[in-house]
Amino acid sequence: MGSKAWLVEDESAREMLDRVLTERPFLLLPPLHRVPLRVGNIVEIVGPSPSAKTHILIQAAITCILPRQWKGVNYGGLGHLAMFLDLDCRFDISRFSDLLNHRIMEAANGSSSEVDCQIKESEAQNATTKPYNEELFASCMRRFLYIRCYDSSEFLATLKTLHYRLQKERETHGVNVHVLLIDSIGAFHWIDRGSSSFSLEGDTRKSLHLQSVTETVVQEIRKLLLVHPMLVMATKAAVLGNRYSMNDSKRNYRTWSAKDNLHSRNVTSSDQQVPYREYMPAVWQSLITHRILVRTTDADFVNGEHQNVSTYLSEWLLPPLNSVDKFIVRDVRKHSCFAVFKKKNQISTLSFSCI
């Protein structure tokens, strides 16, 4: 019929859903697995220092670079590239390679129980430092792209040339970059704030101060995501507010309150109390689509035979979920697992995942 001819369909809704779910899958990355993440999301991981934020990024990168399947073993990864922008300049590659090796070993042995981890760890300690499976390890490590930025100019230069770099890497490896990790976004905050914004030659000239740098960063990230859809995860070091009764917070409030009100805004949670002191400009806050707060706690791990566990609490602020998860990072020399527990919930299930 004539009237229907101009409505030529490309695909049905079902086909589109199938395609999108395959090409842009939802990722469940422990301990962030309460909220499924996909490309186009920009996640901010906030927490005091130290609180396992970089560890979360590393695990996300490992999930991304591991292949889905390799020589018959299911690794559960994506097989894509991961890009790491190290603004803190504290990244330790030996720790990264240990964690990658551990996950490869675990998946290959098909074990996901705590007991097996213990056995493997004693075996691994006797073994040499050779990776478990060299070829797979090398191909995964090559999919991890890393750059350091020592100041805002280098960071901006990296972002401006990232488009061409992404194209080049796609040609070299044949796969896309799936995650972009930034550690940490507030690294140059004080340095940029310290450089005064004096305007020369009238008002037409902008200089590299906090507001203009952040606006450019946000602009570049937005433009990049249009052409190269990626999942962006950024850590941010923050001082916790008095809701968590940290001793330092009251003192910090007094010293920070007078300055630059347009740069700070209190983030209120459902308790009408400030969980942490926000210092990033509003333009960055409007870019974020997800936000999670992590902090360390001294509470003992329930099953604590292991001496070297660190316990952390995580809480989703955006989207606000009214629950606090507890997770541990088991640092048994070259091994690290996440174990996630549900807290403040009627059904107290123990969901354990050793990644």
């Binding site: 130290p50 590659i93 001793n247």
Partner: protein
């Protein structure tokens, strides 16, 4: 911030037409390009008469910007560099070496925190005497605490069985390997570090005996006077100092050890000085404490890239 016209000799595409076009958008140097939207600039260039040349100029600027950041590396290259260059430097203090898994890590910024008279300078001097047997090192002294006699004493203790002549030789070698600078404010430290950076860059091409360890005793004495109050300048200086030290450590394969003191916090406990902004700058933080009664020193880890808080005892040394 060199103006654009300085680039004209090297890149003839950046001619006066291009410079005028950029000036009309408020861009006078390459750094200005970093905070402007280059796609919009290209769109404006489209409407211009000489659009092709202008767009070529923008592409040239982008390749100049590409040289302004660190090189991209992949995981294998990073690992290679870590294995080849980023070793451990043993301090000679058994407890510390055991705790850190070998010693102070090259390429990382290690901080030693402790209340006054807890032995921080002694740790520095012993580390200096141990490292200087094999490598050169730079000691930045802020409080006139460097003592050659103490270094000689440490050397004497570890070489008790050697002959007098051998001892003397070692002593001479160690003393000539230690470069000691007195700095009394943060700007003097920046001067010394920038000088060191340019020296190291020259030496990289020429070879020769290179510095492996940098000790700043103590960095809190330099930073504390500029911190405080509502000024942001102090914190900016502190962050810049931290980044400069980390850059030196990573790019020139140095181990950097800085000393910090403690201040009282609420509740009567003590915490490291320099506040929360400094907290996230060093790679590792060690807490040194001294039990006066039994003369036993305790070292524990406050923060480490891959270890949780551990304790290690160390007897009097």
């Amino acid at each position: 911030m060199a103006p654009l016209k300085n680039l004209e000799t090297e890149y003839p595409i950046i001619d006066s037409n291009f410079q005028n076009f950029c000036a009309s958008h408020g861009i006078f140097s390459v750094e200005d390009f970093l905070i402007h939207d280059l796609y919009m600039l290209a769109a404006f260039a489209e409407q211009n008469v000489s659009s092709e040349r202008l767009k070529e100029g923008i592409t040239q600027i982008l390749s100049i910007i590409d040289d302004m950041h660190q090189p991209w590396l992949n995981g294998m290259e990073l690992l290679e560099d870590a294995k080849r260059n980023k070793h451990f430097l043993p301090t000679g203090i058994q407890g510390v070496d055991l705790l850190l898994g070998g010693g102070i890590r090259v390429g990382q910024l290690t901080e030693l925190v402790g209340p006054s008279a807890s032995g921080k300078t002694q740790v520095c001097l012993q580390t200096a005497s141990n490292v200087a047997r094999n490598y050169m090192m730079l000691y930045l002294d802020t409080g006139n605490s460097f003592s050659p006699q103490r270094i000689a004493y440490f050397l004497g203790k570890t070489n008790e069985l050697a002959s007098a002549q051998a001892k003397n030789q070692i002593l001479q070698k160690v003393m000539s390997n230690i470069l000691c600078h007195s700095v009394f404010d943060i700007f003097a430290m920046f001067d010394v570090l920038h000088q060191l950076e340019s020296n190291l860059r020259c030496q990289e091409r020429g070879g020769g005996c290179r510095i492996r360890l940098l000790i700043v005793d103590s960095i809190s004495l330099l930073i504390a006077p500029v911190l405080g109050g509502t000024s942001t300048r102090g914190r900016a200086l502190m962050a810049s100092a931290g980044y400069l030290l980390k850059k030196l450590a990573h790019q020139h394969n140095l181990a950097v050890l800085v000393i910090n003191h403690t201040v009282g916090s609420e509740g009567g406990t003590s915490k490291p000085a320099l506040g929360d902004s400094w907290k996230s700058i060093p790679h590792s933080r060690l807490l040194l404490s001294c039990d006066r009664g039994s003369n036993v020193y305790n070292v524990s880890i406050l923060k480490h890239p891959s270890m949780k808080n551990l304790r290690s005892k160390q007897g009097p040394s």
